[in-house]
């Protein structure tokens, strides 16, 4: 039995956390019927991805020379955060607009185009 806290963490550990976040996000997106709940799922997915970017870019998780992504990882994460903010603002505006029109945020009710 090895002591988990005595071992340094590796890239893999980060990727696993990222994967869990990603899957939680996907599940949230598909399972929630509340538009804002779906939005939260998207945020989770983006964060899972972001964690991978940062992990790949981290100088502490690599051996022998440069990290696989380096600065690019950070920069991609940065862009993802900024764009996620923009996306959240937009999606929230749509949700509010939908709520104003239909007095509900249930995405299953947004089926006018189907009819």
């Amino acid at each position: 039995m090895i002591n988990p806290v005595a071992e340094p963490v590796s890239l893999m550990h980060y990727l696993v956390v990222g994967a869990i976040l990603f899957v939680c996000g996907v599940v949230c997106m598909t399972a929630k019927r509340n538009a804002i709940g779906v939005l939260m799922g998207i945020e989770l997915v983006l964060n899972g991805a972001n964690l991978n970017f940062v992990a790949f870019g981290s100088p502490y998780l690599q051996s022998g020379g440069a990290p696989s992504l380096g600065l690019d990882g950070h920069l991609m994460a940065l862009f993802v955060i900024v764009l996620a903010a923009a996306e959240a603002a937009m999606a929230l505006a749509i949700a509010l607009s939908f709520y104003n029109a239909h007095a509900t945020v249930d995405v299953d009710q947004a089926n006018e185009l189907k009819r």
Binding site: I36, M40, S68
Partner: protein, 214 residues
Amino acid sequence: MGIVFHTVLFYLLAILACGFAVAVVLSNNIVRMAFYLVACLGAVAGLFFLAGADFVGALQLMIYVGGTLVLLIFGVMLTARGPLANIQTSRAQWAMVGLIGASLLAVLLYAATTAGKWTHSGQIVADRSHVSKPTATPIGLALLGVRADRLNAERTDAALGKGMAGYLLPFEIVSVHLVVVLIGAAYLARARRRATTPPMAATSGDSNNLDPGD
């Protein structure tokens, strides 16, 4: 036997992040979901700090937790009223979602555990406390088009010299994009309301929704 602090903190934050992420999925109350999401994203920010991405971590705190989520909760407060706060998902849907989630997780976990192989990396960690590297400067330079981390690289192409190897163009595109999004969101979120105020109704509370009780 020693303890590697990086690892301890990593496990702590990772458990927090994953736990709250699962809580987001399992919770039915939209406001609690938002709260769990805040906690989850905060823990992820901690992971960023741990991975040496100080700037990204602070940005995550500032924009994501401080900005986006406040916006989100604001939206929740505007829309979550009574029954809307809890919209239930059916069992069949849950089963399907569970299946999709499980298979996705399996694939991703496989990819993650084999990552070491395709990135040629070992399992080395530098002791975080002895390294202090500026993180903001190279990012800032990169956004201006200068790749500070590649200046010493053996491969110096012409683009690098002209400052085109960085992220100047994406940076500009994103900034324009943000302006567009701001205007768009403001346009979308504006409400249509009756120009004339409805006639004065007797206010002795009639519907539950408009109960004057605090």
